[in-house]
């Protein structure tokens, strides 16, 4: 991109290298920690007790356990897939896109009100959102007192009976703003002339969206998918604070499973194997999305 060497850069190479040093050290620490996690996935290291000191190499035992244990990694994986699909891809991304395309026709009060409303969810700290949704869906909470009790029905303990849908909705409520903002920026980047031209050529509203706008903002869509899929995939505090993975294991996504195994039960070695497996899954997903990003328009 930069064709010639710039003199103010080349004459200050040492200074610039020195400026990069803190970042290099911190990145080195990150690599070290990651390598450590990878190494210890082949051991039976424990958090406390004898295995915390006298750990031993166990080869691929931890990885075998991922696939052989019932009610373990595989079940957690499917819970996570459901959670990510409905809360991130269907919920946040689609809703964010619909809102962005509906609201860009207006600059009025309504737009401000909707934007502020969804931003409030996004800005709220995870633990507050967890507390708020636990309370909203509790037997004396908002949903029961407005929609269930007035009709003479027995209050429903949503967090117990519909745990996964409740955390999914809570996450949509919390996360839609990110997708919305990104899609607003994306739609603004589409030149008006292109849409006008398509309109003159007789394209319907739907055709303009599907065949003109969407292909043009595909890099934005891919970026958004990449970010929210991975965030949701490894998202921990909301579910942990609301349900702790329960009731039973109904909401035990991989991040919660990892925490429960590593810190709850103290199986650090097995926990490390879970995080390596999660990294592999995330890596494959990213490659898929990055391909979407790179393909010619």
């Amino acid at each position: 991109m930069r064709h010639q060497a710039n003199p103010w850069i080349t004459s200050n190479l040492w200074l610039l290298s020195a400026a990069m040093l803190p970042a290099i050290i911190l990145i080195g620490a990150l690599l070290y920690f990651t390598g450590w996690a990878f190494t210890f996935s082949f051991t039976d290291l424990g958090l406390t007790g004898r295995k915390a000191i006298e750990w031993s190499w166990v080869g691929f035992d931890n990885y075998e356990r991922l696939f052989t244990r019932r009610g373990g990694f595989v079940d957690s994986f499917w819970t996570t897939v459901i959670f990510v699909f409905f809360s991130a891809i269907v919920g946040q991304s689609l809703l964010g896109f619909l809102l962005a395309s509906a609201l860009r026709q207006t600059y009025g009060t309504l737009r401000t009100v909707v934007e502020v409303a969804i931003m409030l969810g996004w800005l709220l700290p995870d633990i507050v959102a967890a507390f708020l949704w636990s309370a909203t869906t509790s037997q004396t909470g908002l949903i029961n007192s407005l929609f269930i009790i007035p009709f003479g029905l027995k209050p429903i303990n949503f967090i117990n009976d519909f745990a996964l849908p409740v955390v999914t909705i809570a996450n949509i409520w919390k996360g839609t703003a990110w997708s919305y903002l990104l899609f607003v920026a994306a739609l603004d980047s589409v030149p008006r002339e292109v849409i006008e031209a398509a309109k003159i050529d007789g394209a319907t509203r739907f055709q303009r969206m599907w065949m003109v706008v969407l292909p043009m903002i595909r890099p934005h869509i891919a970026t958004n998918m990449l970010f929210i899929t991975i965030w949701t995939f490894t998202y921990f505090p909301l579910i942990f604070a609301m349900t702790g993975g329960g009731p039973g294991k109904q909401t035990e996504t991989l991040a919660v499973f990892l925490y429960n195994q590593a810190f709850g039960r103290g199986n650090l070695g097995f926990g490390a194997a879970i995080s390596v497996a999660m990294l592999a899954i995330v890596g494959v997903l990213s490659l898929v999305y990055l391909r979407m990003l790179k393909e010619p328009k």
Binding site: A23, I27, W36, L103, T106, S138, I195, L290, L293
Partner: protein, 270 residues
């Protein structure tokens, strides 16, 4: 695009959605301003601000300052370290630097709980099981994103401006502080804001790092309080939640203009 306004049903649907979106806050405020709150959805039976007084004094007040220290410390450290490294990264010709940055971002996708164990052991040995340790760890975890975003922003600063300044005899320091930084203000604001809210919200790390209650930030304090079995003091918890949520919301609305321009740069460039 043509701004023909919204059709009526669409406008009503959007307004309805906004109401649903903010309705949990009704409960929150109803209880926070009720001195005799019972956790029900109702108008305050004894309106007052006693809960807020409780939520900012004593232990709760200390938690607020712990959170503030962690969030401002992390945001500032991340931005400074990030700027120092991102400008050379943007301007120097290095083969494969984009691939390197994306690899780092990918690496950072590792669930935080996965690297928590080695980080915990290292911090314990270095005597960093305190706020300083949390700040450093969060900076390490933020850095890949910070670098990628800032580098993309610095890439958009036209090199011709820097050339012109150089020809006029400006030093590297002057070029950076007078041209590059002012022109990427929006990007820096985004990075600072993300690090700030990220650290302010952070729950898992301080949960494991703060061994004594005096070191708890608000996230851990709130979790400890509502996770506790038995009688829940709804009045205190709702007020505490509002106090905890307020700074992140306030910082956003202060930086709002910058944020919206800044978001355009988040996308696309690899």
């Amino acid at each position: 695009m043509e701004r023909q306004g919204l059709s009526r049903p669409l406008a009503i649907a959007l307004a309805f959605m906004a109401i649903i979106w903010v309705s949990p806050f009704a409960w929150l405020f109803g209880n926070a301003f009720d001195n005799a709150a019972l956790g029900r959805l109702a108008f305050p039976s004894e309106p007052g601000v006693e809960n807020f007084v409780e939520a900012v004094s004593g232990n709760a007040g200390r938690m607020f300052f712990n959170s503030l220290l962690i969030a401002a410390g992390t945001a500032t450290l991340s931005a400074v370290v990030g700027i120092c490294a991102a400008y050379p990264l943007s301007r120097l010709r290095m083969p494969g630097k984009n691939a390197l940055l994306w690899t780092l971002v990918l690496l950072r996708m590792l669930p935080a709980a996965g690297v928590l164990v080695p980080i915990y052991f290292t911090a314990q040995r270095a005597g960093l099981l305190n706020q300083m340790g949390v700040i450093l760890t969060l900076t390490v975890l933020n850095l890949p994103f910070t670098l990628l975003l800032l580098k993309n922003f610095f890439d958009t600063v036209p090199i011709e401006l820097e050339e012109a300044a150089y020809v006029d005899g400006a030093s590297l320091w002057q070029i950076v502080t007078h041209i590059v930084l002012p022109m990427s203000k929006a990007g820096i604001a985004v990075v600072w804001f993300f690090s700030f809210t990220g650290a302010w919200n952070e729950f898992l790390l301080p949960l494991i790092f703060s061994r004594v209650e005096a070191g708890f930030p608000m996230s851990v304090g709130l979790y400890a309080a509502f996770g506790r079995q038995g009688s829940i003091d709804y009045g205190f918890l709702t007020a505490f939640s509002i106090v905890y949520a307020a700074p992140a919301v306030a910082v956003y609305f202060l930086l709002r203009r910058n944020m919206n321009t800044g978001f355009a740069g988040v996308g696309v460039k690899g």
